[in-house]
């Protein structure tokens, strides 16, 4: 068993060892060992040239990653958390995402950006965002959200192989989670969704940190006689429409989990895809279980109430199965 954190470190090590063009940079990734201890030991192994502690300048070190990628390197940039990535959004949206297009295909940006996301640690309104859907909105970038230890490893490897800029969201509550890791197996395509648990009565669609909650909810539902299929989206852009539509075409009911605020969430996008292309398959309203429309409060009981929890998923699934 390996932790999610260690799986990412293993992937980083592999990439840094195998390709001299690869380097890794971000705030406190070196001496400090990484804000989530992901990169502990990498500076010692690879040196200051290839494991770079950056100053606090999100816009510029992400932009420098873009420039270095265009310049022939294979940078992996860590933006400590999605909360700080707001400062780098201009570089992501107006440079990384459009460089290939604006140049008529002359320049590509083989950049990987990793960041922690989500709430659950009582770090309040400025530090608990889930903005995956903002990134998934942008043509020109791809977005991954590993929910398992294996994916945490494999997706980083796949992201670096990709010729396009890839943003990886790692839910902060997953770093300590244990799971099996096989570094020799041929990984499935990172761009496809996975059925984490088959079921027949309702499809529960989740990603990242919500996947474990969806699985726990499915277990509880099972006890109550409801068979829930749990889909892990894995790739948030592109979305695996076939998998989403396929599952709902079997169960005819959908519950969408997203730790983002409900309005304008990725769950809304999944719902829209279903209402567009699986409309005649649906037997009940599509339910969304998302974060309430409030900045994340510090107090534990309020934070818990704000973000999706197992009981809300169970309740939504039961409601959906009984027709909304």
């Amino acid at each position: 068993m390996t932790t999610y954190r260690d799986a990412i470190r293993t992937a980083l090590q592999t990439l840094l060892r195998e390709d001299p063009r690869v380097f890794f940079m971000g705030e406190d990734v070196g001496r400090y060992g990484g804000p989530y201890a992901v990169s502990k030991g990498l500076l010692e192994e690879f040196g200051e040239d290839r494991v770079r502690d950056t100053p606090l300048c999100e816009s510029t070190f992400v932009g420098a990653g873009i420039g270095a990628a265009i310049g022939g390197m294979r940078p992996i940039v860590e933006v400590m958390t999605v909360n700080f990535s707001l400062l780098a959004l201009d570089q992501v949206v107006n440079n990384a995402a459009v460089m290939r297009h604006m140049s008529g295909g002359q320049f590509e940006v083989p950049l990987v950006v990793r960041m922690a996301t989500g709430g659950g640690k009582q770090i309040a309104a400025q530090h608990s965002h889930s903005l995956e859907n903002w990134y998934a909105h942008v043509p020109g970038i791809k977005v991954l959200a590993p929910a398992t230890v294996q994916d945490a490893h494999d997706m980083l490897i796949a992201a670096l192989e990709d010729p396009d800029p890839v943003v990886i969201f790692e839910h902060q509550m997953l770093y300590g989670v244990d799971g099996p890791l096989d570094t020799d197996a041929t990984p499935p395509s990172p761009w496809k969704a996975a059925i984490r648990r088959p079921g027949t009565d309702v499809t529960v669609i989740a990603y990242g940190g919500s996947v474990p909650k969806a699985l726990t909810a499915a277990e509880e539902l099972e006890k109550e006689g409801v068979s829930a299929e749990v889909i892990d989206l894995r790739s948030l852009r592109p979305l695996d429409r076939d998998a989403i539509i396929g599952s709902v075409s079997r169960t005819h009911r959908a519950v969408l989990i997203d730790e983002a605020w409900k309005t304008g969430s990725l769950a809304s996008e999944i719902s829209a895809i279903l209402a567009e292309d699986a409309f005649y398959e649906l037997d009940a309203p599509i339910a969304r279980v998302c974060t309430l429309e409030v900045p994340i409060p510090y107090a534990k009981h309020l934070e818990e109430a704000a973000i999706p929890q197992v009981d809300r998923i169970v309740e939504a699934a039961k409601r959906t199965v009984s027709g909304g």
Binding site: D28, F84, H301
Partner: protein, 325 residues
Amino acid sequence: MTLDISRDHALELLRDMIRIRRFEEKSAELYSKQKIRGFLHLYIGEEAVGVGAMHALREDDNIVATYREHGQALVRGIPAGEIMAEMYGKANGCSGGRGGSMHLFSAKRRFYGGHAIVGGGLPIAVGLALADKMKGEPRVTACFFGDGATDEGEFHESLNLAALWKLPVLFLCENNEYAMGTALHRHVSDRDIANNPPAYGVPADSVNGMDVIAVERAVHNEAELVRETSKPRFLELKTYRFRAHSMYDAELYRSKEEVEERKKQDPIDVFQARVLNDGMVTQTDIDAIEADAAKEIAAAVDFAEQGEWEPVEDITRHTYARDLS
């Protein structure tokens, strides 16, 4: 050199530094007991900065601080109980339990947070000063931020705007030599941070941030100059953080020896020794201060323990002036 301050004032300064120290030691303990959660950034080692500065500023001045703001908040007069309750997440906290350690606020005391996005408070300070300038209020906005914040573009944008528009902002850089685990010389190209503001026409100076008297004097001078000229000024406060960056930090990036060495400049020890030595203050005074602090903190913990949890039904409160749904 004897101090040219009154005994009362010396006691006040010492008292406030000790209050902060003891308050934070208790906070760390309560963090281990999981009474306090989230991020907790201790000010231990930097007390002379907060105490000196807050004593130098006027009650009517505006304060903008960082996530490492317990010291400023306490000295500014937010009751220890309300701060502690905030860290417990209780409804009787100074931010109603919504903010936690990083987001202490007090409208009454013109304490505008508690900001956790590094550099993010600077434009707010510029705006507060702009409001005062437009209203003709003779107020200074004192803005605290770390050495790490000077790397962010907003620092420079804020210096430029404040200088261009002649706004009464006092930029107070708490240079504790580290931005998380990144040492100063590994994150700024010019270690002498006070070299930068003059390039914007903002006068800059540095002061020993381990010396509470020096800090108080410097901040006082700077603040009064800002007030008189209605122009921004910059002061670097050279200090050092004795504890980890936050409770998550394993401190791999610096040696125990380095920290021990720097503890020799402990702002409390040094000042205490000095005033004792001067004969200005006696051990009895100090014992009284410690006893008062202990009492204050015990009461604060009590206040927090007794506090209510905000009802979950009110969850969306404070999102808008009026609930939208």
